[in-house]
Symmetry: C2
Subunit: 360 residues, 2 copies
C-alpha cells in the first residue's frame, strides 16, 4: 500500500488514476482539482452573497459539483466558520398541536433565513429539559427557544453562559433569561372566568393536573383562584387529576369526581381543551346536558374543541403566530450577534381571545 498522501495533494483524475471513487466522499478539493482552480473559488461559489461574480464560472462549478456528486460538508463548514446554521427549540411535547404549531411558526420564519430548527421535546420534565439543553449546546446552535420559564438552575446557567440569544415562550416571566414571547396564563384564565361570571355562572370549578409537572397549568389554576376571589366567589371547587399532559381521559375522570364532590357545580374551567373534551364526552355518556347541567370551558386552540358538538368555549391563542414572533425576534438577535452586538432583552406579549361557544 502506497504511503498515504494528504488528500489535498492526491493526484487528480486527469492522471493515470481513473477510479470513480476517490477513496471517500468527494471534497471541495476534488472539485477544484478537476476544474484546475483553487478550492476557495469552489467555496465561494456556494455563498450567493458574493453576488456579482462571474456567473459563468460559478455555474460551471456548481454543475461540476452536481456531476461529481459533491455534497457540501456542513460539519466542516460549521467547524471552520463558527456558524452552525441552526437553532435549538424545546417544547414539552410533540403531539400537542399548540406547541407544534409554535414550532411550525418558528420554522417558517427561520427557514427563510437559511436557519434550520433542531427540535427537542422535554415530556414536561425539567431535568429532561436540562439534559436536552446540554446536548444541544454541544452542537453550537446560534439561538435557543424554550417553552416556559421553569428550568433547573443548571439549565438557566447553561443558557445564560451559552453566548447565544435565548427566548422563552408561552409565558410572561418575572425573571426572564433574556427575551420573552408569550402571554400570562393566569390572566387569560382570569379573563375566561370573568366571562363566565358575566354569563351568570357563580359556582365555577377548575379542573387540571397536579401542579408539579406543568408550570403553565399551575398558572392557569392560580389565575382561576385569584379571579374567583376577586369576584367574591368560592374558589375551592378544584380538581387535580393526572400529570401533564392532562389527557381527555383525565378530563372525563375529573368531571365525574367534580360532580360527585360538589353536585351544585354550574361550570368547570379545564386546563386545556383536551381535558374539556374528555369532560364533555363523559357528560354525554352520563346523559348530563352541556351546558344545561354543567357548562364546560377549555384552554387553547385545539381542533377538537371546534369540531365537537357542542363546541367548547376556550381561550384561543395564535400559536403559530407566537412561533413566528419568536422567530422574527430571534433572527434580529442572531443578526446582532453575528455583527458582534447583543440585542437588548425584549418582551413581546401575545394576545389571546376568549371564545364563548356552545358549551357555556
Amino acid at each position: 500500500m502506497p504511503a498515504r498522501l494528504p488528500r489535498n495533494e492526491q493526484p487528480t483524475s486527469t492522471a493515470v488514476v481513473n477510479s470513480s471513487e476517490p477513496s471517500g466522499p468527494v471534497t471541495m478539493a476534488d472539485v477544484a482539482a478537476r476544474l484546475g482552480i483553487s478550492k476557495m473559488t469552489v467555496s465561494r461559489a456556494f455563498r450567493q452573497s458574493n453576488g456579482g461574480r462571474s456567473n459563468e464560472l460559478r455555474q460551471t462549478i456548481l454543475r461540476t459539483c452536481h456531476e461529481m456528486g459533491y455534497v457540501l460538508d456542513q460539519t466542516a463548514r460549521t467547524f471552520s466558520s463558527k456558524r452552525s446554521g441552526f437553532v435549538a427549540a424545546l417544547i414539552p411535547a410533540l403531539n400537542n398541536s399548540n406547541f407544534s404549531d409554535t414550532a411550525h411558526g418558528l420554522t417558517s420564519v427561520l427557514a427563510q433565513r437559511g436557519l434550520q430548527v433542531l427540535l427537542g421535546y422535554t415530556d414536561y420534565d425539567i431535568p429532561t429539559e436540562e439534559r436536552l439543553i446540554r446536548e444541544m449546546l454541544t452542537r453550537r446552535p446560534e439561538g435557543v427557544v424554550v417553552t416556559g420559564g421553569s428550568h433547573t438552575p443548571a439549565a438557566r446557567k447553561l443558557l445564560k453562559a451559552a453566548g447565544v440569544p435565548v427566548i422563552e415562550t408561552w409565558d410572561l416571566l418575572t425573571d426572564p433569561i433574556e427575551h420573552t414571547v408569550g402571554f400570562s396564563n393566569a390572566e387569560a384564565t382570569g379573563a375566561l372566568v370573568r366571562e363566565l361570571h358575566a354569563k351568570g355562572y357563580r359556582r365555577i370549578a377548575f379542573l387540571g393536573g397536579v401542579a408539579a409537572s406543568d408550570a403553565r397549568g399551575a398558572d392557569r389554576r392560580r389565575g382561576f383562584v385569584e379571579t374567583m376571589r376577586a369576584l367574591k366567589l368560592d374558589a375551592h371547587r378544584s380538581i387535580s387529576v393526572g400529570h401533564a399532559p392532562v389527557s381527555m381521559a383525565d378530563g372525563a375522570r375529573g368531571v365525574a369526581e367534580l360532580v360527585d364532590k360538589w353536585p351544585d357545580v354550574e361550570a368547570v374551567v379545564c386546563v386545556s381543551d383536551h381535558a374539556a373534551f374528555g369532560a364533555l364526552a363523559e357528560c354525554q355518556r352520563r346523559g348530563w346536558a352541556v351546558p344545561g347541567r354543567l357548562a364546560i370551558a377549555g384552554f387553547g386552540s385545539f381542533e377538537v374543541g371546534t369540531a365537537c358538538h357542542p363546541q367548547i368555549t376556550t381561550v384561543a391563542l395564535d400559536c403559530f403566530g407566537m412561533g413566528r414572533m419568536a422567530g422574527e425576534l430571534l433572527v434580529r438577535a442572531i443578526d446582532s450577534a453575528r455583527g458582534g452586538q447583543r440585542l437588548a432583552p425584549e418582551i413581546i406579549t401575545i394576545p389571546y381571545n376568549i371564545e364563548m361557544r356552545g358549551s357555556t
Copy 2:
C-alpha cells in the same frame, strides 16, 4: 496588538495573564494546560468506553472542566471523528400524534445509544421532503428514517448515495430504498371492511382526502375498493374531501356530502380517526344516531377516538412500538456501518388490530 499565537501555544493562566476569559470559549487545550496534561487525556476522559482508567485523574479532569465552564465542542468532535452522533427522521406532520409517537419511540431507543434524533416534518409534501433530506444530509447523519415510500426521484437518489442506513416506515413497499418497518395500509383497511361486513353492513362508503398528497390515504382507499369488490359489494360510495392531513372539519363536511349523495349508506370508513370524529360530531349536530342511522369507523390510534362517545371503531396501531422497532433496526445498521459492514436490507412488519367499538 501582539502577533496572534496559535491557541495551543497560548500562555496558560499560571503565567502573568490572569484574564478569566481566555479570549473565546474554553477548549480542551485550556483545560489540559491548566492541569499540566495533554489534551488527549482530557479527550479520553469524555469517553467512558475507556472504562478501566485511573478514575481519580478522570474525576479531576471532569471537575476542572466543570469549573472552567468547558463544554465539549460536538462540531469539532463530529468533524474529526466522522461520527455526528445523530440520526435524521422525517415525518409528515408534528401535530399528528401517530407520527409523533413513532418519533418518540425512535428517540427512546436511540437516546440509550447516545444518538440524538433530528426531526423534520414535510407537511405531507414530497418536494419539501427532498429539500429536508438534502439539508439534513449536509450535516452527516449516521442514519435516516423517513415516513412512507413516496419520494421524489432525486430524494431516492440522495438517500441511496448517502452511505448511511435508511429506513422507510409506516408502509410496506414493493421497491424499498433499504430497510422497511411498517404495515400494509391497504390490507389493514381491508380487514376493517371485512369486520364491518361480518357485522352485517353492506352499503359501506369510504371518506378520505384527495389522493395526490397522501400515499397512505390512497392506499387505504385502494384497500377499501379491492376488499369491497372481493366481497361482491358496491365500492362506489367514495368521498374525497380536503388535502392531507384530512381534518375533523373535512370529516364533518364529507359525511354530509356522503349522506346527501347516497342516502342509503349504512356505514362509512374514514381515512383517519380525526376525520371519523368530525363525521361523528356532524351526525350528532344533525341528530343522526350513530351507529343507528350511520356507523362510523376510523383509522389509527388517536386519543379522540377512545375519549368520545360513542367510541370510534378503528384500526389500532402501536405507533410508539413501530418507532422503537425502527430504532432497534437502525442501531444494528449503524453498528454494522461503524464496523465497516453493511446490514442486509430487512423488512419488519408491524401488527395492527381492528378494534370494534361503539360507533359500529
